[in-house]
Symmetry: C2
């Protein structure tokens, strides 16, 4: 043990002894109480504990900075901890200045990990994060619950927090988050949770500040169809399918009701429809979103009514001070009752009990973790792998991988060339190191000529040119590393442009005009319209590197050199720069609109690869390789199968009885095999390959999306000449469409399953028989929507039915 580590051990002893980190069930006031009885149920233990609290003590423990109850030996607890892509600094997390606990592994931002399309990777990353979080907690440097993941689909390219999400596709997000929560929380049946994850922001939150609209007051108008089809699936995956420990309601309102005060969202959908009813499952507000119910939403006429509306709706915890400040008044006025107050506290303390908070540490494996378990070599390798797997190759005229030798040199030019904190993006912790591309290139003994870039998005370049010319003149190959960073895309800050900034574009084209191989590494979370770079024959290659974390430079340089082959796919659409002028950020509808319809909708080119009617610069799923691949479905020798017909009733009958929800029933391989054979047909490079499977066809109500992702998997390290099988399991829920009422319905009609951005190869088939509702969708109870901002979700949405012989889906057969 190093001196540092032994120092830690001494600290841990102190923390486990005198500090107030955990309740003392052995010698403290709670000794002998039911809450300390590990044989009792978490609910009974928590209910017993809360019964010991006085009403003021209850009211006092409703904010994120919970003071506990000193009288009872219940220690203070900070509920606000962050771990978006590694244990993150701030709030409940306290890094040391040096030595032990001065760092934690800093993975790429989720948007780049989303581009890997690798659920196994996500599970591994989340497992490291929860391990390191436990080590921090054991040292009294963090809490046990974390307000991650952010799974609002990244539907508008301007959104400043798109970087926090895995992308724009709801199926992708649903799978991603299931892997992530399993890594953060552990198995559902484990006695102790690793940590508690928090799915946020529930729901319809994807706007920071746009044209006078603020997240704190925005009222998202969302149809039941868009809600159930697009905005809700990732949250359903969290609540119904992953048993996540916590939810966070959002700043915005949905259809007139602030989400944190909406029992339709928090009770009817979340708890009742999705069965999220374990005692230890709690809802926190976003930070100060309870205040926002009063102002600016002006939903509740008084502050006391606002806190009561939130607590009664099912918001159990307030990030902020409104609950502790105004719940006493609400209680005195009879706006809340003891049952509701106790419910909130029992949920919170049940959650802590499931985390072992009141249990003997020696019986808990996670309580044994320490700084030896942080930033391990395996964790560092995983951070590198996560960065490398996400990088997307968008253009290559053959310049990549670079053929450098001892006598050739590289110019690294641009604001990201020597990036350090830029590599992390927001909600970052202290990384053990931040390897810039420059650092990585030098570490590989390349001869590098470095120059900073022209600065931020559109600011004057002024004197930045001379160094760039000098570097370019001296080098044989030019690599420009620039794009976006959190000065232009961040929490609170949506982008005003999705074009490359003119100074950057000018510098790139001027450098490229020198006639040397010129590679652009497009960095940052949001896509910049690279059409001018694609069209410029002097630009040899384009890679998108996202926000790649502590090992980002290593991964980028290795990809440039061919030591690692790129295989990521764009997790979002890369729109033309003109797109944002065609659609308001406040527009929540996914479907295109011509603006002349009777519904009064504004003209819209549609949103996401599913509905966008224009021509993207690069589509969702785009990504090139250093080698060539052949893909096929083994069931047929041609690129397209002969059409087969399947019966909806037979598909349902084939569903294993153990499947808890009909939409999760698989499309049986015995009836329609969907696995694909992938062959690396190149001669040189081993490479990963991401198999994406999309469905399209005339089934379900018009308008119909162009295609929808229904399965994906990543095959790793396919050697030149090697063939592998991509397991692509399709659920009936993925084949289903969502109707105007929000119901997920398996429709008869024509289907086409296309591989890799719509094939070839493809499988065509038809479903016949009656449309089947796989998942009902609860209607809002209008009686509770009484605030000023109510926008009726009226009868207009509830049209049609799917009885025998009826239903829109059958019209298309």
């Amino acid at each position: 043990m190093s001196p540092l580590r032994s120092g830690l051990a001494a600290f841990l002893c102190l923390a486990g002894g005198a500090s107030a980190l955990f309740p003392d069930c052995v010698n403290g006031p709670l000794k002998g109480e039911l809450v300390c009885d590990t044989s009792a149920s978490p609910r009974d233990r928590a209910a017993s504990l809360i019964s010991l609290f006085t009403v003021p003590e209850k009211l006092n423990n409703t904010g994120n900075t919970s003071p506990g109850v000193p009288r009872l030996g219940v220690p203070p607890y900070e509920w606000w901890n962050e771990a978006l892509h590694g244990v993150a600094a701030g709030h409940g997390v306290n890094f040391s200045d040096a030595g032990d606990f001065s760092h934690a592994t800093s993975f790429p931002q989720p948007i780049l990990m989303g581009a890997a399309f690798d659920d196994e990777l996500i599970h591994a990353v989340a497992t490291v994060v929860s391990t390191e979080a436990r080590a921090f907690n054991n040292a009294n440097r963090s809490g046990l619950d974390y307000w991650t993941p952010n799974i609002n689909p990244y539907k508008d390219p301007r959104w400043g927090r798109g970087q926090e999400t895995p992308g724009e596709d709801p199926y992708h997000l649903s799978q991603y988050v299931r892997a992530l929560i399993a890594g953060l929380q552990g198995d559902k049946d484990d006695k102790y949770k690793r940590v508690v994850a928090t799915c946020k922001h529930f729901v319809g939150y994807d706007l920071e500040t746009w044209n006078g609209n603020y997240r704190y007051q925005f009222d998202a108008q969302i149809s039941p169809q868009d809600l159930a089809e697009y905005y809700m699936p990732p949250f359903q995956s969290c609540a119904r399918d992953s048993n996540v420990g916590a939810f966070m309601c959002s700043y915005n309102a949905v259809n007139g009701v602030p989400t944190c005060a909406d029992p339709y969202l928090l009770q009817t959908i979340l708890r009742e429809h999705w069965g999220w009813t374990d005692e230890e499952q709690w809802v926190t507000s976003d930070c100060d979103s309870i205040q926002n119910i009063y102002l600016p939403h002006e939903w509740s006429p008084t502050r006391e009514q606002a806190v009561a509306d939130a607590l009664n709706a099912g918001t159990d915890l307030n990030c902020g001070t409104y609950y502790p400040k105004y719940l006493p008044g609400a209680y005195a006025q009879g706006l809340i009752n003891d049952t509701t107050l106790d419910r909130a506290l029992i949920r919170q303390y049940s959650s802590l009990i499931r985390l072992g908070y009141f249990d003997p540490p020696e019986a808990q494996p996670y309580r044994q973790l320490n700084f030896n378990n942080v930033s391990t070599p395996e964790a560092e390798a995983l951070a590198y792998r996560a960065a490398a797997e996400g990088i997307v190759l968008l253009k290559n005229d053959g310049a990549l991988p670079l053929a450098l030798n001892a006598s050739t040199s590289l110019a690294l030019i641009g604001d990201w060339a020597n990036a350090t904190t830029q590599l992390q993006g927001n909600y970052a912790g202290q990384a053990p190191y931040l390897h810039s591309p420059l650092h990585a290139a030098q570490a590989r003994n390349l001869t590098v000529h470095y120059a900073a870039g022209p600065g931020g998005q559109g600011d004057p370049t002024t004197n930045s040119w001379d160094a760039a010319w000098a570097a370019a003149d001296a080098a044989d190959v030019i690599v420009y590393v620039g794009g976006l960073d959190i000065s232009v895309e961040a929490e609170g800050l949506d982008r005003n442009s999705i074009a490359w900034s003119p100074p950057q574009l000018d510098m790139i084209s001027a450098l490229a005009a020198q006639g040397k191989p010129t590679v652009v590494l497009a960095m940052g979370a949001g896509q910049l319209d690279s059409a001018p770079l694609v069209a410029n024959p002097n630009v040899s290659a384009i890679l998108w590197g996202g926000v790649p974390g502590q090992a980002g430079g290593d991964a980028l340089i290795d990809v440039l050199l061919g030591d690692k082959a790129p295989a990521g796919r764009l997790p979002v659409t890369q729109y033309p720069a003109s797109y944002i002028a065609e659609i308001a950020m406040t527009e929540m509808a996914l479907r295109p609109a011509n603006g002349s319809g009777e519904d009064g909708a504004s003209a819209s080119p549609g949103r996401t690869y599913m509905w966008y009617t224009g021509r993207p610069t690069f589509p969702f799923g785009a990504g090139l390789h250093y080698t060539t691949f052949n893909a096929s479905f083994p069931s047929n020798s041609t690129t397209t199968t002969t059409t087969s017909t399947l019966s909806i009733s037979a598909l349902l009958a084939a569903c294993p009885p153990s499947t808890p929800h009909k939409d999760l029933c698989p499309l049986p391989a015995s009836l329609l095999p969907t696995n694909a054979l992938i062959t690396n047909t190149g001669k040189t490079h081993a490479s990963d390959y991401v198999a994406l499977l999309f469905v399209s066809g005339t089934h379900g109500p018009a308008p119909r999306p162009q295609r929808r992702l229904v399965a994906y998997t990543r095959l790793r390290d396919i050697a030149a000449g090697e063939t592998r099988t991509a397991a692509l399991e399709v659920s009936l829920g993925s084949l289903a469409r969502v109707d105007e009422r929000g119901r997920r319905v398996l429709f008869p009609g024509a289907y086409r399953l296309g591989l890799d951005v719509d094939g070839p190869p493809a499988i065509e088939f038809a479903l016949e028989g009656e449309a089947a509702v796989l998942d009902e969708w609860p209607e809002p109870d209008e009686s509770v929507r009484v605030g000023k901002g109510v926008v009726g979700v009226g009868e207009g949405y509830f049209v049609g039915g799917y009885g025998s012989g009826g239903g829109e889906g059958q019209e298309v057969l």
Copy 2:
């Protein structure tokens, strides 16, 4: 002499000796050259110097960081120096870390100085700035030219750089800038200029980043009428009436042409129409706006053509590196010639000659200035006065001035309560001190309870409440000091909201509900819609304090206590928060539009107090006092004169022959006296009084503005009971209207001169006879407007005429 000062003297000797600060005409290579002959004309001296340069040496000296010509002993010179409200740090200005030259006087931002409506104050401030600038220059710590003032009218409340301007009214700006330039440059006939001022940004620049529009690429569509009536007058004041030494062309295009490449703006209007033809008058580009001609404007097809287009149009200097980088290519391609290149350099060096650059220092008074002349007690007093004069009282239920005594205490709450750098805004230097309200209150021995505010514009307040409650609970009087700062309004950053942020509004209303006197100090440059505070009976008073500079806290506390009476007036309209949703920031038209007109214009509620058709929360010119005033015109005993009729021809005949331009002819007091008598009718407080005179009436073409400012003056320290005369001279140009062709025309019709936001009192009169053109307006030469973005300023603008019996103006008689 203090040790510090003697240290300075030693440094100055060094600077005057070995350094390259000034050319050495005594012993250097230029000795004996004409440029060193002080008896020759500046033009001949400069032309002689440039004739010594080789072509590469000329091309090399076209950027802001001019290397000079070492061979000739011409030292390097940095043209980019800033002094918006005091000598500002950065670029050519170099503050020391401590001791001498570690600070300079930091005045309020222009928007607050504009609120003083005190041209004498502005002249005094500018004189201090130029004095301190010279002292810095003598110590080789700054240049001799400064890129100030910013006089684009502040027409949209969202504009992030509105803080840099004196306000929204073109007459006000014209008067303000005349006083400012006289203070910066000295008298026109002085042998040596104090410093050179630079009027910017020419023209039509008042947008940073809005909804996908960037200043670097925005093409402002402006009619000749709006251009001549609204956007141009401050620049005319600079060029024609103040002989300013330099202009800066802007980032944006106007009617399709990037301003820095537009000979219509830079030659036809600026130099020919306004007679701005002295050799030493030069135009600089904004920083990198030459690059922007190529990209993103895409006006010129190559970079070489872009620099040639700019130089040929009359942009003499490039802030940036495009000129030195690409002019050699343009020269080689024959896109520029020697005459044009020499013209640019002769202008620059003539300017330096007028600053004494090549002359013996002993004969120049400004060369004797040193740090003893910086931050003098007089300068410090002036910074205080500038802050105090601008503060505007908007609401007062009698709580102000505060009646505090030894047993009462004050809560100072909010993000500005302990403001330091916030007091300065952008383009700031290092101040000798930054006195926050908290500092000032403590210095006055008040008992103060301080708490920070809820943070920026709309961010979560979270844990900021407890300290605010504690402070408010402990105090007898609550003062909230908040609003805006450069986190939400800044260069590059237009506002997304003109409402008070919900957390601030929530905190103010919660504090005010305690029933104690509660005063709101609204800080920041832009107006926040204070309607909720006006309507809230618990809010006792509202003061607007702008961005008040180094003595801001002193001035604010003195106004609160009544040691200084507020008398500032809003230099902009305070719009309702909904205004920004009604008009695009890109809309350049001032006049309202109903959106159904044949011209296809979008609906608009109009801009500025002149044209806005809605009800402002506070109008331009609003401002209350601690005392009461009576105002009257001495020529009549009632509040409104009897109508008199004047002949236009008689008015013109009465114009003194020495008046250089007809629009400057005064309305003769012998025909219509407009001076007002102002009486302080209160019993307690002495107070300043700003007399504003507006014209309205049915004269000139419809639509007609509601009123227009035609004269103002500030009377200082009017004692209780005292009467003073406000000298209000009205020019014929102020009475004139601008027609659709851009001509300034004195129309027959009905006129009303109203005092103090439209009277009473008022003077009504009529003008009769033929409409008279006081100022022609040059038409653009369409042959030069050949770029891609050309928007024709076609015949539609040139309608009607003003011959005998004709003209729209006469229709209203």
